[in-house]
Amino acid sequence: MSMEFLRPATWAEALAMKAERPDARPIAGGTDVMVELNFDRTRPPALLDLTAIPELATWNTDIVPGWIRIGAGMTYTRIIEELGGMFPGLAIAARTVGSPQIRNRGTIGGNLGSASPAGDLLPVLLANRGAEVWVESVRKKAGPYPVYDFFTGPKRNLLAPDELIREVRMRVTHGPEQFAKIGTRNAMVIAVCSFALTLDPGEREVGTGIGSAGPTPLLAFDAGEYLAGELDWEGAGPLDDRVARRFGELVAAAANPIDDVRGTAEYRRHALSVMARRTLGWAWADYRKGAAECA
């Protein structure tokens, strides 16, 4: 009935402990884990506290050119403060998480580990085309999963029992990013549905991510392809309203929502189409502004 509390001081020690105790539940900010414990939904035999490992709470851009490495222990608050310039969409999403207290403790690694379809950062990671979740175990040296492969179902991911999430790697595109989330109150709310959009001016590609409208966070792949082909990248002209609406429809079509206590499936699809259209408008305005400044 007792619960063991493991607190490794180094990453190697954490991997060793996880190998020895695959039933140990990793915990960082405790945003999801503590709720489950308090509601008596899970009772893991051991908790593996990852907050004493310094390198987990760091980020750097000098590993691979054009990429950033974000340690799993980076909190939402630090993401907002330190990465907001580089990844405005990630910062907007982080700002919608809980309250200041929760943002001070909750981490990007926790968001990935919980793998909730409503995880606020997850659509943004999907929209960063090619983003990777790096996992490691004593058995297997660190390696990436593409984010779009990582989630296998509601609160399920590809992590093996002896593996831990080490970091996230994202492409630095310097393009406009947006995120929007529906909640039934104006703060501290779990997403009814959410949408993330990234415009990649270099590759002329569009990244998308849908939250809380399916068993996992979803890509709106067709919508992104359609939009990438329709946008006036070259001339940076005004956005065609028909394109924006069509994009919204395609995003809604990519969702697979259900009716639940937070909202109806029909509303979720509708809200996604609106958010897709609006975020596109804002992102395209940013793009045009950037194009004008460069000209």
Partner: protein
Amino acid sequence: MTTRLESGVRGGIGDSPVRPDGNLKVTGEFAYSSDLWMDGMLWGATLRSPHPRARITSVDLTEAVKLPGVHAVLTHEDVPGARCYGLDHRDQPVLAIDRVRYQGEAIAIVAADHPETARRACERIVVGYEVEEPVTDARRAALDPACPKVHESGNIVRHQPVRVGDASAATADVVVTGEYEVGMQDQAFLGPESGLAVPAEDGGVDLFVATQWLHVDQEQIAACLGLPAERVRLTLAGVGGAFGAREDLSMQIHACLLALRTGRPVKFVYGREESFFGHVHRHPAVLRYEHGATSDGRLVYVRAEIILDGGAYASSTPAVVGNAASLGAGPYNVPNVAIDAYGVYTNNPPCGAMRGFGAVQACFAYESQMDRLAEACGLDPVEVRIRNALSEGSTIATGQVVDMPAPLTDLLERVRAFPPPAARITGEDGRPDLLGLPGGVANTTHGEGVVRGVGYGIGIKNICYSEGFDDHSTARVRLELVGGEPAVLVHTAAAEVGQGLVTLQAQIARTELGVDRVTVAPADTAVGSAGSSSASRQSYMTGGAVRAACAAVRARVFALAGRHLAAEGRGGRVPADLALADGKVVSESEGVIATLAEILHAEAVEETREFRHRPTRPMDPLTGQGDSHTQFAFCVHRAVVDVDVELGLVKVVELAAVQDVGRILNPVALRGQILGGSAQGLGLALMEEIQVRDGVIRNPSFTDYLIPTILDMPPMRTQVLEHPDPHAPYGLRGAGEPPTLSSTPAVIAAVRAATGRSLTRVPVRPEHITGHAMDKPSDLG
């Protein structure tokens, strides 16, 4: 008024002295009932039914009892006294007897040396259920004789008609009808049900508990324990909010049973999820209204059918029905009235007291109707209300004359006259000001789809207990010298539930006795009943009792002053105009007579007084007529909202309120009541609902039971009027509930104005505004 209110003492009536619990609560050091602890205590846990309606075919405790650390496992067979309790009807089993009537009903209780052990023991109890189809449709329960019965006595707890004139025959130029629905709101207090029962040497028990009314708990607990009341002693523990949810018993009898059985102190603390099953909620309601009026908007008749879902047990359903019926026509003059209010049993969660009960549900419906009437008559919504508003000397639907100020027209005109709030889509830097927009930082709009709306609401609430109830409060006040200085001790059983009653009692004693040092003793049952901290009544009732006890103390001090004068050879004549001020007996004509230190010596002057408001009468069972209420209170709101009409998200930009409180006793506490009440009303309008399907609660947590945050509750503009009620102490009017009534319809009216939707159900959800609801309400067709 003879009371000297201008006494130089600070922290008296009209001031806002610092409340003793304020800093402690803000810094997290206040001891709540959940913090109670005693050496050697055991922990209680409760086994609850997963089914809303089932026969219990067997209960096997074997495995639970065997678990090491378990000290007792009890069922209904272990209840020594009455098997059932209840505020009005004693219909609720202490522990389920042969059947369960709602999801979460307590079946067995465990005491163990660790809370986890107690919970594990509960899991080992094997209960056999024969699950039955639950009764969940309140309207069917009320009106369909073929509906299965929740209790043998039938499904109607109370049906109260109100009849004035001939509403069935009345005709009118303009007729508006509507069916409205109010969802199940929760009080959402932060301190879960908790307490500590300590067995006593006399075979009785001492219970420390967070409650709203110590003596009504004591009475019910003693009956079920089979003990005389004096052997069940209660002391109020730190209360983390109440709002009506602590009127009914939760863990009280369970803790006492286990303490008496084990001979050890037993503590219960419900978890958050359990708490949603551990207390009653606001009655959901379906309300059908028809108003007839002249073409210039003057009401001719109102017909209404109000169905209140009381859930599995009666709780305070009878009183809720009484309020909905008697106040169902609203604060309006209506010559012909036919209201039928029903409170029924179903297998839904039990519902009972919550701030504004009965009056809240009716107010949403009649105010929605007034807006429809305004539209039908082409009138401004404030104007149509003014044309029909009650005033002093008017008669409400029960025939009761409003014999106190009722400045409704003034309230309405004042709230309308407030300047409109500015439209702020962008911040100073020209970027969208997300905090001020629907959706907040979730970044759903930068102004797209945002439409502003304005709405009004006004309500009428009865203050104090009604319908002939012997409503009273008791106060004991003691004046003596402590360290040579006069000091006052006030002792009542009145529950401080966060509203500031401890502070107020001291303010009254300071004002009445002119003494600075006032201590308020912990509330317990060693002094007579104070009645409930409910119905906005404690300032009136316990305030009145403290004031009366102070007056009695004062009279004795004046007598002692005469004795003192005689002893000093200054005797003969005692001035008639004595008063107490600044620790002295003074005379307006002769100046300072003596200090209290000189007069009192070693003597303590102690007096106990019971205070009663004027008597009320029951409502006539067929016509609803009767002077059933003590006092009426009024508040009016104007809500200004920005709605993202495409996404259905709402930002309340401003709530403005004007309330008449008769007399301001503590300005800060009063503002807190107006803000808090308005926020709770806003919550009901936009988000707060316990979602129940087939008798099962779907969102028993603060993850999905949403209450307004600082980004949902806007700054409030408030104005307070003071028209004294000649019948009440200090002329005061209860202030806690009225803001809860009118804020809901005002917010919804504003959302309707912005969206053009008829929105007949609260809380309104985004999909109701956008038209993507699953169960499409009739107004979306």
